[in-house]
């Protein structure tokens, strides 16, 4: 049994920042991630980030883990990192079971920060299981981590930030993007992301839906249909497009399995894209000592995930008696940063969602 003060589950932007702030407060931290390198989804992001300097704005996603790792070095006597380690279970006696490189291990932490991120949603249409139909996450992994092209041409379903960004990344990798569709009259991502791909000649097609995928062994063709303003299909407007890859980017949903396992109170909040834990402003769930940060607490941007991570790490350490000398200032600063990041018109939905879940 491995003993530690705080186990941080998930080594994405939220988890790394939680580990840093918890260690900075004096707690011993075990940072667990199932990938071979820290950074979560950041390691697949070739574009520059928004936000302010504090959240490493205008740095590329791929470079942020390195910057954070530099910061982590300051606390290397406090933070232990477990890579290639998947947390299998969180049990009622607070034991975490983990598989790491073909070995089974158990961890007994005194407090936990769950920063497990999100999983992808998939729409249902006939033959959606054909090879060649991939989630945006899979396309990014294949292309930006392993340098393997997903195919010759890609059609993108979903025009939120991820759909638009991945389209851009596909262009960078030399893949033809045949078009991007979304169901609403307006695409969901930032306009600057849309313009970037539009001027490369990629059509953005609002009010469309995939109704059929065709192909014998693998994807050859898709059928689209036009939708009216209320997202209702307009009969007779079906048409086919040839493509060997269909990339699905229809949204993320918080990955709260471990929170369910341990019995945290969860609530479905549409604005936060799924079931999220009820928590206080310090990111502590209904079970004292279990904190959350990042997408698992509600789907948002990497910038807010990093700040939430710092806040959770700071407060989780305090829960165990490791009180940072600057606790109050830091906490106020993190809350202010989060407030600022969510203050614009794009943050409207998030603010509404948080109002329903933060107690």
């Amino acid at each position: 049994m491995i003993k530690t003060d705080i186990a941080v589950i998930g080594g994405g932007p939220a988890g790394i920042c939680a580990a840093i702030d918890a260690a900075a407060s004096g707690a011993r931290v075990l940072l667990i991630d199932r990938n071979s390198q820290l950074g979560g989804q950041l390691i697949k992001q070739t574009h520059m980030f928004f936000g302010s300097q504090k959240q490493h704005a205008s740095k590329r996603g791929i470079d942020i883990p390195g910057i954070l790792a530099e910061e982590m070095k300051k606390y290397q006597d406090k933070i232990e990192v477990m890579l290639d380690a998947t947390v299998l279970g969180l049990y009622e006696d607070w034991v975490l079971t983990v598989e790491q490189n073909g070995k089974y291990k158990k961890i007994a932490p005194r407090a936990i920060v769950v920063a497990t991120g999100a999983s992808e949603r998939f729409p249902a249409f006939p033959n959606n299981d054909l090879p060649g139909i991939y989630g945006a996450g899979a396309v990014q992994t294949l292309m930006n981590v392993y340098g393997v092209l997903p195919g010759e041409s890609v059609f993108m379903v979903g025009a939120g930030n991820i759909g638009l960004i991945v389209s851009y990344q596909l262009l960078q990798a030399g893949v033809k993007v045949k078009g991007v569709i979304c169901r609403s009259p307006k695409y969901g991502g930032y306009a600057v992301h849309a313009s970037k791909i539009r001027r490369m000649g990629v059509p953005i097609m609002p009010q469309h839906r995939v109704i059929y995928a065709h192909g014998k062994e693998k994807l050859e063709r898709i059928t689209l249909i036009k939708l009216d303003e209320n997202k209702k299909e307009i009969p007779g407007t079906e048409f086919d497009i040839e493509t060997d890859v269909l990339c699905i980017s229809t949204g993320l949903t918080p990955l709260g399995e471990l929170l369910w396992q341990i019995g945290c109170e969860m609530k479905f909040i549409r604005e936060l894209s799924g079931h999220v834990p009820i928590r206080n402003e310090e990111m502590e769930t209904s079970i004292p000592g279990i904190f959350v940060a990042g997408d698992v607490a509600g789907i948002e941007e990497a910038s807010s995930a990093m700040v939430e991570g710092r806040l959770a790490g700071l407060c989780c350490a305090k829960r165990l008696g490791f009180v940072n000398p600057d606790f109050d200032e830091l906490k106020q600063d993190y809350l202010k940063q989060l407030h600022d990041l969510r203050s614009g018109p794009e943050g409207d939905t998030i603010r509404k969602g948080l109002a329903k879940i933060v107690i």
């Binding site: 049990y91 009622e92 079971t97 158990k106």
Partner: protein, 383 residues
């Protein structure tokens, strides 16, 4: 809120409750209502290992099990089920790992054979022929009955429920019993979260929660509910016919027709507070026992663990029939982990008790009063 009248209210929508409802309706009883707190089969029935065996150590349990298994053989047809209850009659191979077990099994088999159960004692070599991936050096012998088997508990319960509904039984899912009215020592009605049901007869088939139901009418039962855990693996091509089981080594392990293996074990230190959470120690102990006896299964991946409640009676035999304190209150509980396999016989004997009919199998000695009288015959063969 509804207000209705029923001739019988059955509390619990597991195999017992649904089988009782079916048997009553088949005998022509109108207005039977089954009240289930969640969905059908959400309690012990849906959580159990769903093995069915005739190989027991007491005459009573042998008879109850034999009746039930013979019913399962034709249940798809009898209940006219639209899907399949997935009865896999691949037998039970119960290994003897100690001298004491050898002796006990030989005694059991004699009893079983006298009751028409085709069990037999086999050598380790014969056992290995039946389960080729076992380590036969770990055993002294085994008991085998080809007539034992395994079912899908959800489909089996659903088959009963659908058949009962066709005969007019009403099943109220997602309805919790909040109280039972008794007047002058007689059942008067049942309060539920969806309204009141006036009835002269209540059957307690509430599985792990039966003691709470009995308490509502002031009947104390010497039973407790113990958590039992189980796991299921990914599916692989068929490789194991029978249920593989050991009392002394504490394991049961079966490959379902779907290809996945389910396995479980008991532990006297399990909580008895109605918790149905899971633990990591179970996984480790389960894996250890399984791999020691069935080594190739080390390559199998488990995909899920869960738990359920055994409603334990002092002699590990069911509690059947009326109680003397309250007229119209019937018990079908205390199954001690084998309520699923006794489902069909439970349906028959409880319906007979309610209707005052001659019992198919005399079960009067399984009444609640046996514990006061101290006339207990302990069942030795339980995991």
């Amino acid at each position: 809120m509804m207000n209705k009248t029923a001739s019988v209210v059955i509390i619990g929508g597991g195999i017992s409750g649904c089988a009782i409802a079916y048997s009553l309706a088949k005998k022509g009883v109108k207005d039977v209502v089954v009240v289930e707190r969640e969905y059908l089969c959400s309690g012990a029935t849906g959580r159990c290992g769903a093995g069915v065996r005739m190989q027991w150590g007491t005459e009573m349990n042998c008879k109850l099990a034999k009746y039930s298994i013979e019913f399962f053989e034709t249940a798809n047809e009898e209940l006219e089920y639209e899907y399949d209850i997935e009865f896999k009659q691949g037998g039970y191979l119960i290994i003897a790992a100690t001298e004491k077990e050898v002796e006990q099994f030989q005694k059991n088999i004699k009893l079983q054979n006298s009751l028409g159960i085709p069990s037999r004692y086999i050598t380790p070599k014969e056992a290995k022929e039946i389960v080729p991936h076992m380590d036969e050096t770990q055993i002294l012998g085994a008991a085998f009955n080809p007539k034992d088997g395994h079912l899908n508990p959800f489909h089996t319960t659903q088959a009963y429920a659908n058949a009962a509904q066709r005969l007019g039984v009403e099943i109220m899912k997602f309805t919790e019993v909040t109280g039972i009215d008794v007047e002058n020592g007689k059942i008067k009605g049942v309060q539920t979260t969806k309204g009141y049901i006036s009835t002269p007869v209540v059957v307690n088939a509430a599985g792990g929660y039966s003691q709470l139901i009995s308490k509502m009418v002031g009947v104390e039962m010497p039973v407790f509910s113990e958590r039992h855990q189980i796991l299921v693996t990914e599916p692989v091509a068929p490789m194991q016919g029978p249920m593989f089981m050991s009392f002394s080594q504490n394991i049961y392990c079966q490959q379902t027709p779907h290809g996945s293996f389910i396995m479980g074990r008991g532990d006297p230190n399990e909580p008895r507070d109605l918790r149905i959470t899971s633990s990591w120690d179970f996984l480790e102990e389960m894996a250890k026992t399984c791999i020691r006896l069935l080594p190739p299964l080390r390559e199998l991946r488990m995909v899920r663990q869960w738990s359920g409640l055994y409603n334990m009676s002092p002699d590990r035999q069911p509690i059947y029939g009326p109680v003397k304190e309250v007229e119209g209150f019937y018990l079908a509980c205390g199954f001690s982990g084998h309520g699923f396999m006794f489902g069909p016989v439970t349906g028959v004997v409880i319906s007979e008790a309610i209707l005052g009919e001659e019992p198919t199998i005399p079960v009067h000695m399984l009444g609640l009063d046996r514990f006061e009288k101290g006339e207990l015959i302990l069942e030795p063969s339980v995991v």
